[in-house]
Symmetry: C3
């Protein structure tokens, strides 16, 4: 009777109805403190119903490499973890800007920049660390935005990933 | 009498009045199938009257190199062809998103990213492969958007060009 | 009595009330001629109240290196000067597009791309050359936008910095 799950559709619908903040709670995802700008800029700007978010680096976490080039100092899995930490840092900024992640209408755009060696080719797998997090929090429909995943020659402080994003805000 | 072309202004006006889809037909340009996302994202998102388009790679075509670094594995002309194929892939996504290219009001922004060796310097000539296509399809006024043409350290799957874009959609 | 400046608050308020064009005058900042596109694109596009600005290179200036890689051919200070010249070039384009810098509501986004060697890590200090200029002209609040400062593998003509930006325009 493996395929008989009378409760599953109901559960799924409930999950779908959950708000981003409820998703965070349910999945025990804790956001880091929102990062302070390291130079002469701000971490987010809202114009109309778009929230532009600055390039973020990975929030520090035990067991996650905070510097190095993917393809040399980090493998794909370690790059994925760095991208996930970068996504957490972005979410912290978004919550600080809007008061709550529940005010996000959807992810519009993600520019995932990977500090990689010239022969690296698996950028999408790395940047999924951020994209998978966004889908976990905002759901399949609102959490998937447009995306570019590309390889940089170098990044500030030799961080493995820097990601900038645009979100649509609820009216 | 080389410089006497009484019909030319009329012909030009007619071309100018053609829609993007008519331009495609007239110039025998066939769009490839719209690409599927290779990871956890979507290929376009519309918000307000802006259509954000994900980073695209070149649509496969006979005689066009689908991987390699410009300045080593591809020369400028080969890079141009890759950028044109990338533009075709973007147009396929735009048509799939909007139903018809005729719903495009104008090209707003193109970020042309060239997978190049560190000493490469001719990025604008490469990215013109995409920009020239957009002008061919949308015309001089609506087809020319803002642009950055830059050199990446690496790109997914070692593709020679990745291009993302923003279009304005007719109300 | 070093800390008693009864006039200072008044002076500061006056500076704050100054328009961007007045700030330029007061600080004797002269904008270069707006650059012409080097390929098939335009230098700015306005859509709604957003002004998208193409990737710009540094306006030529005596004593400022116009080409080379930061971390090898240019040090951080020289990179900063290149970024400032790039910002001046952007402002020239913005003024040409809007008629006056006074029509800028705020800086929304800056993508600061540094042509750097793979081991370079001080991109924020370089891109501050542009950000500091924007704050000088538009003030602390309106001049600071979101920002990414990243390292490219190569740039057109081997320029040290290429910067693109988005501005919000007054209604």
């Amino acid at each position: 009777m493996d395929f008989f799950h009378p409760m599953k559709p109901i559960l799924l619908r409930m999950e779908k109805d959950m708000t981003p903040e409820e998703n965070l709670n349910r999945q025990h995802i804790t956001l880091p403190p929102p990062p302070k700008p390291v130079a002469n800029y701000v971490t987010s700007v809202r114009t109309g119903n778009l929230l532009f978010v600055s390039g973020h680096g990975p929030a520090p976490a035990e067991g996650v490499k905070g510097s190095g080039k993917v393809g040399k100092d980090l493998n794909v899995e370690e790059g994925y973890s760095s991208a996930r930490q970068t996504g957490l840092s972005i979410l912290a900024t978004v919550r600080a800007a809007l008061g709550s992640l529940d005010r996000v209408e959807r992810v519009v755009k993600v520019l995932g920049m990977v500090n990689a060696v010239p022969e690296f080719a698996d950028h999408p797998k790395v940047v999924n660390g951020c994209s998978d997090l966004f889908v976990q929090v905002f759901g399949e429909e609102k959490g998937r935005g447009t995306r570019s995943a590309v390889g940089m020659g170098s990044l500030p402080g030799n961080i493995p990933t820097e990601i900038e994003a645009i979100f649509q805000v609820k009216e």
